[in-house]
Amino acid sequence: MAQAPALPTGFELPLEPRLPRIGSVDQVAVEARATDLSRRSIKREAKLFALDLAVRMMDLTTLEGADTPGKVAALASKAVRPDPSDASVPSVAAVCVYPNLVQTARERVAGSGVKVASVATAFPSGQSPIDLKVAEARRVVELGADEVDMVIDRGAFLAGRYAKVYDEIVQVKEAVAETHLKVILEVGELGTYDNVRRASLLAIAAGADFIKTSTGKLSSSATLPVTLVMLEAIRDVFEETGRRVGMKPAGGIRNAKQAVQTLVLVHETLGLDWLTPDLFRFGASSLLNDVLMQIRKEKTGRYQSPEYFTID
């Protein structure tokens, strides 16, 4: 039997039925759609529902050179009990810290159900040899991380070496095995929505459990249109293969209003099934307090002064 021509690696998974096209994104139209959806008016119980969900979906993050055990311990405590004065406020989904601080975070969240996520693969640039990246990812899992956030090699992606990007994700996925893998595209460096779509499909094909917008190290990150483009890629994969991939916008989501708008986007693009921390996360450092403030406002009808919310 004649052998089928070899395809470049990275083109076996959900691409076959989609051939001859990966599809493209129209910038003007996708931005218009995101703007339309951001104008949904979410009030009262619908808003409270979204705010509660936003807390449960949050990856409370600190990724700074200045992070210390003290800082991470405080953050982890906050993750478990975001609002000590209101027991009905749930814990967040996870804390996200650098590998050296995974142990500290683990101790603090032990028994609470809050996960510990960490970053690997030469975060945030991804500009290291693959063997180091694989070793790093494996080590992060050994250190006790429940979830690993890796970065793609944007240098390779922008140079058109998609197979390299794909192979690296496959290898990291192998290294972390059952551990939850989030693949950061760093959309701010990809330049176009077409690239965001392409990188999303590439990461999903390579085995990502989640795709994530950004490292949080760039000013341009999880905008609504970018999130929409990624959600649409996830939807296409789900409709063709039945596989559910998660989404994590990170960076730039600083207030409750943005979080609610993002959840509307998820709701109207992927439906209720994605309104769970298993399939959707917010990566954020300063979002939580604004959400807490809004929750208290919805419950009491009054704004509480910021001094009543802890700074961690």
Partner: protein, 500 residues
């Protein structure tokens, strides 16, 4: 609300996320119980002595009593406009005319919320659309033509122009305030006076606009508003006006043209459409789906340029239809004043009957109908967003203008076939082309017989862009420089031509 459904050992998935109702307040609109005709800057009792009730189509609740102007009332309005024309308006300095138009534009902006609420109340369209589209565009038209009022000699160089006199204008119910702006702004900028007849079912924003005119201190008689049904429109066509501008159905447009033949009165017609929205297989699919939705469900499909015939390249027919159907399930049909409503009420009983009749015909002819599950309110006029597949070019739903939220889907194989099918209609108002290929957009645009062609977007309007039809969709253009021309008489300026 926050009831959670346990699925296996996963984190619970919510059973629903119902958006709480978010209605825009009606308080801002103060309605009179009974209105008069706006003639000579005053509301006057109709000599006909007749009134009718105008409704909120989403609840069938009566809103106000509206005069039914008879021939005598129309003659009075036209006479008043004539007098205002010769007594000062035609001689007013162009900058003076511009001043009033700028004032009107600004007042419309200032009172935009009031107009948006009223437009949704009386017309059934979602507040989202009246707030974000109708009212801002209406103000934009006044701003745009205000700018031209004192620059007409530069608009049409080497041609000496003068106003026509009195313009009789008849507008439809789908965009009451916006159509009013399309008609009145260029007419006044060119120096004419106006008698305008709003549609029978949607007179309220035009009557509120009279208040804007008074606030702007526009000289009395320059703009007169006569309300009523088709008989009032017919009386206006027969009256002593110098020009008729009509937007509405092709049937009525033809009758007007017959009536005016040989009278020397000028005429522009903006009539029906059955636009092809053409989807090529290389387009951005998800955004094309948005464009299709915006093309046909915007304003409940009560849009003359609606993309009511979807032509899909056969190679992407299935994924596209799947995406479209899925998208339809997220359309929110209901209270027009709710800020989250995407599709509002059908404008009138009569229009609902027409939609139902054509949809029944579609099913009978063998097309396959799809409607997303949605709860329609019990009172009022409602029709669920509808898609017909398996439609043949010969079916009535592919030929006739439905003017409702009903899409007919056909397929094509090649660009040539797309052009052929798109042009195979007596209409020619608009078309949409969706492709990533720039050269194909231009290739298509050259061949499509339509006045407006959108590429990778749909139902976008701008005052600077002319709008109008080919074939039975009418003649004459509104918007842009083209929109001024039908309101002016031209004499070639020979000295200038030689000199220039």
């Amino acid at each position: 609300m926050a009831e959670l459904e346990q699925r296996g050992d996963r984190t619970p998935i919510p059973a629903a996320w119902e958006y709480a109702s978010a209605p825009e307040s009606r308080e801002i609109v103060k309605l009179e119980e009974r209105y008069g005709l706006f003639i000579g800057g005053e509301f006057v009792e109709p000599r006909s002595g007749e009134h009718y009730k105008t409704l909120d189509p989403s609840s069938e609740e009566p809103l106000a009593e509206i005069p039914q102007a008879g021939p005598e009332d129309v003659a009075l309005a036209v006479g008043t406009a004539r007098k205002a024309f010769s007594d000062g308006w035609s001689a007013a300095s162009p900058a003076e005319r511009a001043k009033y138009l700028f004032r009107i534009a600004r007042i419309l902006q200032e009172r935009s919320r009031e107009f948006a609420v009223l437009e949704s109340l009386n017309g059934g369209k979602p507040i989202r659309e009246s707030r974000d589209v109708d009212v801002p565009l209406a103000a934009a038209h006044f701003f745009y033509y205000a700018g031209w009022a004192d620059k007409l000699e530069y608009a049409f160089p080497h041609r000496r122009q003068q106003p026509l006199g009195v313009a009789g204008q008849i507008i439809p119910w789908n965009f009451p305030l916006l159509m009013l702006a399309w008609k009145i702004a260029p007419a006044l900028a060119a120096g004419n006076t106006v008698v305008l007849k709003p549609a029978e079912t949607t007179p309220l924003s035009a009557l509120l606009f009279c208040d804007v005119l008074r606030q702007a201190e526009l000289p009395p008689g320059v703009v007169n508003i006569v309300t009523g049904d088709g008989a009032t429109g017919a009386a206006l066509v027969k009256s002593e006006v110098d020009k008729i501008a009509f937007t509405g159905s092709t049937e009525v447009g033809k009758a007007i043209q017959r009536e005016l033949a040989g009278t020397g009165k000028k005429l522009t017609l903006e009539l029906g459409g059955k636009a092809a929205n053409i989807i090529f297989d290389d387009c951005a699919l998800d955004q094309a789906v948005e464009g299709i939705v915006n093309g046909i469900y915007f304003n409940q499909g009560h849009v003359c340029c609606a993309g009511s015939r979807l032509l899909v390249q056969e190679s992407i027919y299935e994924p596209l239809l799947e995406k479209l159907k899925r998208r339809l399930t997220t359309l929110r049909v209901g209270d027009p004043l709710d800020k989250n409503t995407d599709v509002g009420a059908i404008n009138s009983r009569q229009q609902l009957d027409k939609i139902e009749e054509l949809v029944a015909a579609g099913e009978e002819e063998g097309a396959e109908i799809y409607q997303p599950p949605c709860r329609l309110p019990e009172k009022g006029y409602w029709f669920a967003p509808t898609v017909f597949t398996n439609v043949a070019q010969s079916y009535r739903i592919a030929q006739e203008e439905i003017f409702g939220p009903v899409l007919s889907v056909l397929t094509f194989r090649t660009p040539d076939e797309a052009v052929e099918k798109a042009n195979n209609t007596p209409y020619g108002l608009s078309a949409g082309v969706w492709t990533e290929k720039g050269s194909r957009i231009l290739w298509m645009a050259q061949r499509l017989e339509a006045g407006v062609i959108w590429a990778n977007t749909y139902n976008r309007f701008d005052p600077a862009s002319p709008f109008g039809g080919y074939k039975e969709s009418g003649f004459g253009r509104e918007g842009g420089l083209h929109g001024l021309e039908p309101y002016l008489d031209f004499r070639e300026d020979s000295a200038d031509v030689i000199g220039g």
